[in-house]
């Protein structure tokens, strides 16, 4: 501690001298505490057990992955992945075996050595091989293709896959796939996590703060630069905005500033640096195809045609939210439709009035009209973002003889309701951990999959899900993904309405923050971040 303080003093001295030497000014300074706002109390500290950014962002710096997305690339891409705990990796000729060579001399924060056994242990747990120590395992579907994991000495680990799956690298690189220590029990990981990462867990006070301190023995020499990271939990967004503007904090929590709020905060403090990112959430319409009259595909089609996606984007975000299919569209996303391709998809054309006329024609053919409105309830979660979207949806359905009423559901029973399929029409906002078609398709559109709330099932298309998953050529794969996505929208599987975006801001004294535009879940390791003091 004393040593680091000395170092800090030296760094300050460097900072004072810096103006004279422009090049020196940009070298990293050691020391300082990065103060970050936090939006909400995380349910636990265990990243593997949670699917919320509230856990992912603060605790990512405690861990390392096998591999990570290249922070230099502004978009997380499958072909831009770099080593982390793995020094290198190799595919077998049949693309079914993936071997990682691991770093030597890495230790856990409690001093125990990190070995290949820890990697095996982590994925055995995630695939449900070992009697799961995890309380819940929200991303089990990510790893459905893993047949088994084997160690080869302490420094090598081999994954055997059922089928070739290039995308599995994207999951390994996600912030949601840290390597856990074998020797620490799961309940301790929820309250006091142990990792190999640049920062060590110090304290987590419920509803108050999360504190991390520098790992002095970090295996990447010279890193990290910060002495500590402190998150202060401020659930009230109004208070958070004021706290940020007055300079009490260096960095806002990611995904918290709506496009308008980001504009607003930048006007109040013009020197703030802000980046807009996809929050990996999409608003979509769930129509229960088992409940009459929605078992009739014509009604579902009419509803799809009535949606004016641009209006959603305009009202919710002043036009900042992109419009697309199941996959996040470019430039943020990698797998979504191009603008030109999107124009060819029904319901995505520029002429909304024309689509709605067609929808009204369908409704009239089914016996509905101005004197015979179809009454329905739009079920949604009782949270502002959901309700706002549902209010707009109701507005749009009005144009095709549907008289809808809002049914807000307590957030505590929302997923249970969806799972029971206890709704007719629901406005849903759905998060996806990583921008990858495998995750998108297998999680939400597979016949009988758990999160397939609308019971959509198309066996023909399902074959194509597997086909694209095995493709090695990224460009060819992207073409197929576009086609599948188009089919999904034509079938009205789960009409996608908008992709949410949000801003992250920091003061210019914070250096080295590099984040990607298609995710909020990655790049929070902070090992390259330093403070200008």
């Amino acid at each position: 501690m004393r040593g680091s303080r000395l170092f800090g003093a030296a760094a300050i001295l460097c900072g004072l001298l810096a103006p004279g030497f422009a090049s020196v000014a940009m070298t990293q300074q050691q020391g300082g505490t990065l103060r970050v706002t936090h939006r909400d109390n995380p349910p636990s500290a265990s990243i593997l057990e949670e699917a919320t950014i509230s856990t992912d962002m603060p605790f990512m710096a405690v861990f390392n992955n096998l591999v990570v997305f290249d922070p230099e690339s502004p978009v997380n891409r499958l072909d831009r992945i770099v080593p982390d705990l793995a020094t290198s990796w190799a595919w077998s000729d049949d693309n079914r075996t993936l071997t990682f060579q691991l770093h030597h001399n890495v230790t856990w924060h409690d001093g125990k050595p990190f070995t290949s056994a820890d990697v095996k242990c982590t994925w055995d747990m995630l695939t449900g091989k070992t009697d799961s120590k995890l309380r819940k395992n929200p991303r089990k579907t990510w790893w459905f293709n893993i047949k088994d994991v084997a160690t080869d000495g302490d420094d090598k680990v081999v994954f055997h896959l059922k089928d070739p799956q290039p995308s599995i690298m994207a999951m390994f690189a996600s912030g949601f796939a840290p390597v856990y220590p074998c020797h620490v029990p799961a309940n301790q990981m929820r309250t006091h996590p142990i990792g190999t990462g640049p920062f060590m867990f110090k304290e987590f006070k419920q509803n108050e703060s999360i504190k991390l301190v520098r790992n002095p023995n970090y295996w990447k020499p010279g890193k990290p630069y910060l002495d500590a990271i402190e998150y202060t939990i401020i659930p009230n967004r109004a208070t958070m905005v004021l706290a940020m503007v007055t300079g009490k904090f260096n960095l806002t929590f990611t995904g918290e500033l709506t496009p308008q709020l980001m504009k607003d905060i930048q006007q109040q403090a013009p020197s703030l640096q802000c980046v807009m990112q996809s929050t990996n959430t999409q608003g979509n319409l769930l129509v229960n195809r088992e409940r009459p009259p929605f078992d009739n595909p014509l009604i579902r089609k009419a509803m799809t045609l009535a949606i004016d996606r641009k209006a959603f984007s305009d009202i919710l975000s002043q036009g900042a939210y992109p419009v697309g299919g199941a996959n996040l569209p470019p430039p943020e996303g990698f797998w979504g439709w191009s603008k030109e391709y999107m124009e060819t998809v029904p319901g995505y054309g520029a002429d909304v009035e024309k689509s709605r006329e067609e929808a009204r024609k369908i409704m009239r053919s089914l016996g509905y009209g101005p004197d015979h409105l179809l009454p329905l309830k739009v079920t949604t979660r009782n949270i502002q973002d959901y309700r706002d979207a549902a209010v707009i949806l109701i507005d749009h359905l009005k144009t095709i003889y549907i008289q809808a009423e809002l049914e807000p559901i307590d957030t505590s029973v929302w997923y249970a309701r969806l799972l029971r399929k206890d709704f007719s029409v629901a406005m849903n906002i759905q998060g996806t951990g990583t921008d990858d078609p495998d995750v998108q398709f297998f999680e939400n559109y597979l016949c009988g999959s758990e999160r397939n709330y609308t019971s959509y099932c198309n066996p023909e298309l399902e074959k194509k899900f597997h086909e694209q998953s095995m493709m090695q050529d990224i460009d060819a794969r992207r073409k197929l993904v576009w086609e599948i996505d188009k089919q999904l929208q034509e079938d009205g599987a789960r009409p996608v309405v908008f992709f949410a975006e949000a801003g992250t801001c920091w003061w210019p004294r914070v250096h080295g923050i590099r984040i990607a535009r298609n995710t909020i879940y990655n790049h929070w390791r902070f090992e390259d971040v330093w403070l200008d003091q």
């Binding site: 309250t191 007055t246 997923y415």
Partner: protein, 315 residues
């Protein structure tokens, strides 16, 4: 006196027993349990995993068993573990109590220090312009939502002072603590201050009409002396009454004030615990609050008897 005290103590235990049943049942009526909420944050539900959590926590047992289990723990000083943090309830709650207590005490202090003098002035100058203005002000203070006032105060501080009086880390000195808690305490105490002012005024008016003031005056005591020595003593009753009435009410104000000023106290924590259906947390916190409220009321009644012997006990 002692018998009265014993009887009150017995009633207090009975009341708290009733509170325990009420809160226990109310929480069980609320839709969803901790398992639902845990999966909610994970955006998924696996029925098998969910069932495991439910049975691990004993939520599938009959309500009576669950209740008796909790009660048994309470009697033996075992408050259980928080469902969310998996830490002992006591360990979660204890560090927060001084924070809220400090805030509440400062708020009451503020209320007394502003309410009593203003009430006295208002009474002495009865029906004058200043009396009217003060009365209207006190009513206005009673009419503003505490959280709105808090937001306005925050905004004013940011705009005119460029600082934000919120809790961002534990204060390291008494002075820092006073600064940090002062503004929210004043915000939440304003309401109590208005109440004390009104009660002080009315009891002062009553007292001033009474004989012994007249006697004092006729004995040649100067006007301010009469007012402040004799009358003020009688203002103690309204202050005590308000403290009794307001302990419960103040807590409601603290819930929103702690949210706006981001103070990690008991009140905000309770709201969060309700949201998570963290039964052990909510149940024990509510029991704690109820105990404080009941105890304060008992103390207030006893103080009454000491301050004003005219009030007979036990009636």
């Amino acid at each position: 006196m002692f018998l009265y005290f014993l009887r009150r103590l017995g009633l207090m235990v009975f009341t708290l027993f009733g509170v325990s049943i009420a809160i226990f049942l109310l929480l069980r009526i609320a839709p969803g349990n901790i398992a639902d909420i845990l999966f909610d944050s994970a955006g998924m539900i696996d029925p098998a995993e969910k069932q495991k959590i439910i049975s691990d926590l004993g939520l599938d047992q009959p309500l009576v068993i669950q209740y008796l289990h909790w009660l048994n723990g309470l009697v033996h000083g075992d408050f259980g573990y928080s469902y969310v943090s998996e830490k002992p309830v006591l360990q979660e709650v204890l560090p927060r109590i001084p924070i809220t207590a400090r805030l509440a005490l400062l708020a009451i202090l503020f209320a007394v220090c502003t309410g009593v003098p203003v009430g006295v002035v208002s009474a002495v100058r009865q029906n004058s312009a200043i009396d009217y203005v003060l009365r209207v002000f006190s009513l206005a203070a009673l009419s503003m939502p505490a959280f709105w006032l808090g937001l306005l105060v925050l905004m004013a501080f940011v705009n005119w002072a460029g600082v934000l009086p919120i809790y961002d880390q534990a204060p390291d000195s008494l002075w820092a603590a006073l600064l940090m808690f002062g503004v929210p305490a004043a915000t939440v105490g304003l309401r109590s201050s208005a109440l004390i002012m009104r009660l002080t005024r009315s009891s002062m008016l009553e007292v001033m009409r009474q004989d012994y003031i007249r006697t004092a005056r006729s004995k040649g005591l100067s006007e301010p002396a009469v007012t402040f020595i004799h009358a003020l003593r009688n203002a103690m009753l309204p202050v005590i009454t308000t403290i009794g009435v307001e302990t419960a009410f103040l807590f409601g104000g603290l819930v929103v004030t702690e949210t706006v000023f981001n103070i990690p106290g008991v009140a905000r924590f309770l709201v969060e615990a309700i949201r998570w259906r963290d039964y052990p947390m909510v149940q024990n916190l509510v029991m704690f609050i109820a105990t404080v409220v009941v105890a304060v009321n008992l103390l207030v009644d006893l103080t009454y008897a000491i301050v004003d012997p005219r009030i007979r006990l036990g009636s």
